[in-house]
Every structure is written in structure tokens, then in C-alpha cells.
């Protein structure tokens, strides 16, 4: 894993992002802009399932119409995220918040698989029945908690100082000098 991180970091794109001043903050800003868009979609979906917001709309309407926009925005977020992580791959290998964030994203994937059949594809049934079952509300609440956790862990990444003594200084002296 560490070897992989060191290798990724030395690829051309990762090196350029790390060593130039502008690409990193620009990609980070785009990462956050897309996250904001995704957050709106996630929030509305979950609040609708909880019966808190958009109560006039059928649950299925909200979930179905946002399915593809969400997928596209997720793809953009992940693309930016991979570029950011690859540029500092070795550092992130030692970053506890990075791994916390990845674990939470893993849990979100499990959450999606666990509730997909019983909640997210059953929205039309909830609308016909006129009530939202407890399981769907649980799924929505868990989703909100997990995503807020991802946001906090993501911010935490920047607070961990890179362990300079462990990094391969001879491989990339420039990033060590910059200290970031």
C-alpha cells in the first residue's frame, strides 16, 4: 500500500499538482463546489424520507429525479478527490483523518447496498401507502450522520502534519521543503 502510494505520487499528473502553486487549490475548490451540490441533493432526499421537507412531493419523485444528477456529481467529486489524494499519496497514507474518511465512505457504500432494495427502490410503494416506514427513516438519518462525518473527517485531513521523517525525502525534495 505504501509502495503504491509512493508510485502514484510520482506519476506526472500527481507531481504537477503537488509542485505547482495553482492546481491543488483549484481542484480542491472544485471538489468542494461539487460536494455542495451533492449535499443539497442528499439533504433533500433524506429530509423527504424523514417527512420533514418537501412533503407535498411524492418520495419517488424526489429520489428518481435526483438519481442521475447525484451519480454525475459523485463522479466529479471522486475525480477531483483522486487527483488531490494522488498528489500527496504518501502523506495521506499516514493521515488518520484520510483513513477515517475512506472508512466512512466505505460505510456509505454498505449503507447504499443495505437499503437499496428495501428503501430507495420502494419509494413508489411508500407513496401509495401514504406513510414512510421506520426503516426508511432510519436509512435517511444514518445517511445524514455518515455524510456529515465524511465532511468533518475531510476537513480533518488538512490538520495532520505530514510525518517528514517517514517520507522519502530523496524522492521528492520539493514537497518536503514546502512542508505542505
Amino acid at each position: 500500500m505504501l509502495t503504491f502510494a509512493q508510485w502514484v505520487q510520482l506519476t506526472g499528473v500527481a507531481t504537477a499538482i503537488r509542485e505547482l502553486w495553482l492546481p491543488y487549490p483549484i481542484i480542491l475548490s472544485l471538489h468542494l463546489s461539487f460536494i455542495a451540490l451533492a449535499a443539497g441533493m442528499i439533504l433533500v432526499t433524506n429530509l423527504r424520507l424523514l417527512g420533514i421537507a418537501m412533503r407535498k412531493w411524492p418520495v419517488a419523485d424526489v429520489i428518481d429525479q435526483l438519481r442521475w444528477p447525484k451519480r454525475i456529481v459523485f463522479l466529479l467529486i471522486i475525480t477531483c478527490g483522486l487527483l488531490l489524494a494522488s498528489s500527496k499519496a504518501e502523506e495521506y497514507y499516514y493521515n488518520v483523518f484520510f483513513w477515517t474518511k475512506m472508512s466512512l465512505l466505505g460505510l456509505i457504500a454498505v449503507h447504499g447496498l443495505a437499503f437499496r432494495g428495501s428503501v430507495y427502490q420502494k419509494a413508489a410503494e411508500f407513496d401509495r401507502a401514504g406513510r414512510i416506514p421506520g426503516k426508511a427513516k432510519l436509512a435517511a438519518a444514518l445517511s445524514l450522520v455518515l455524510w456529515i462525518g465524511v465532511a468533518i473527517a475531510g476537513r480533518g485531513i488538512g490538520y495532520i502534519e505530514p510525518p517528514l521523517d517517514k517520507l522519502h525525502a530523496e524522492l521528492h525534495p520539493v514537497s518536503i521543503e514546502q512542508g505542505r
Binding site: W21, Y24, P25, I26, L28, S29, L32, S33, I35, A36, L37, A38, A39, G40, M41, I42, L43, V44, L47, A53, M54, K56, W57, D61, V62, Q65, L66, P69, I148, A151, I152, R155, G156, G158, Y159
Partner: protein, 148 residues
């Protein structure tokens, strides 16, 4: 006024990161809910809903996000006022934030509530998205222009 040296906020290393978390969650809620309406104006996403009703439905949540931003932001600023005040990214961010906020509650609000469609509505939605994205860029760049 607060000075960085006498500000009790700086007594604990945990307060600033905690404020940042509120700021980030707040901005995600605020910009996210505004973005839903902007995307609707652009013809993406919740198209089965009327723009006006979507705008009214998400408006309280936008305010929740704004409240989190406006509570945490000035406190973060107070932790090191000189650094922020002199930081060009921060200055740009504040100008963009003021513009985005005014635009949001005047032109964009009127167009969304009128349920506008067509090219005009698309432009209004796109301008709104661009304004908020420029606020985000300004915010991120604060940390990257500070060391110059």
C-alpha cells in the same frame, strides 16, 4: 474589537477546527439547497416540481445553512483578524459572498418565484451557481495565499 492575542477563541486548539466544521456543513446546506433551485432553473434535476414551489420548500433550509455560516464565520475571522483582513482571497470572498447573497434574495428569488423557464431563467441559475462557486474558491484560496 477582538485581537488575536486576547481572543479566548485561541485558548483551545480545538475551537477553530470545530467552527470550521460548522462552517463547512453550513455552507454545504446553504449552497446545496440554492444549487438545487439553480439546477432546476437550468432544467436539471427536480423538473417535475414547479420552480416556485421548490424554491419555497428549500428556502428554510437555506436559512439554516446561512445561520451556521454567519455564526461560525465571524468567530473564525476573530481568531486572526489581521491575517484575514489583509488576505486578498478573503477580500474577494467577502465581495462575492455579498454579491451572491444580494443576488439570491433579489433577482434570483423573483425569477424562481415567477417560475421562469427558457434562456432567461437558465442565465439566472448559471449566474447564481457561478457566484457561489466563486465564494468557495475565495474561501479555499485564503489558506493558499496566506503564506505569500
Amino acid at each position: 474589537m477582538f485581537l488575536a492575542e486576547t481572543n479566548p477563541l485561541n485558548d483551545s486548539a480545538l475551537i477553530f477546527p470545530a467552527l470550521e466544521c460548522f462552517h463547512i456543513v453550513g455552507f454545504a446546506i446553504c449552497v446545496g439547497t440554492i444549487g438545487l433551485v439553480d439546477l432546476r432553473l437550468l432544467g436539471v434535476g427536480l423538473n417535475r416540481q414547479k420552480t416556485a414551489e421548490l424554491a419555497q420548500d428549500v428556502a428554510p433550509w437555506t436559512l439554516v445553512g446561512l445561520a451556521l455560516i454567519l455564526l461560525s464565520g465571524p468567530l473564525m475571522f476573530s481568531s486572526d483578524p489581521d491575517m484575514y483582513y489583509l488576505n486578498p482571497s478573503f477580500q474577494i470572498k467577502m465581495v462575492c459572498f455579498a454579491l451572491a447573497l444580494i443576488y439570491n434574495y433579489t433577482i434570483r428569488r423573483r425569477v424562481a418565484l415567477r417560475g421562469g423557464t427558457g434562456a432567461g431563467a437558465k442565465v439566472v441559475g448559471a449566474v447564481s451557481l457561478l457566484l457561489w462557486i466563486s465564494v468557495i474558491f475565495g474561501g479555499i484560496f485564503i489558506a493558499f495565499t496566506g503564506q505569500m
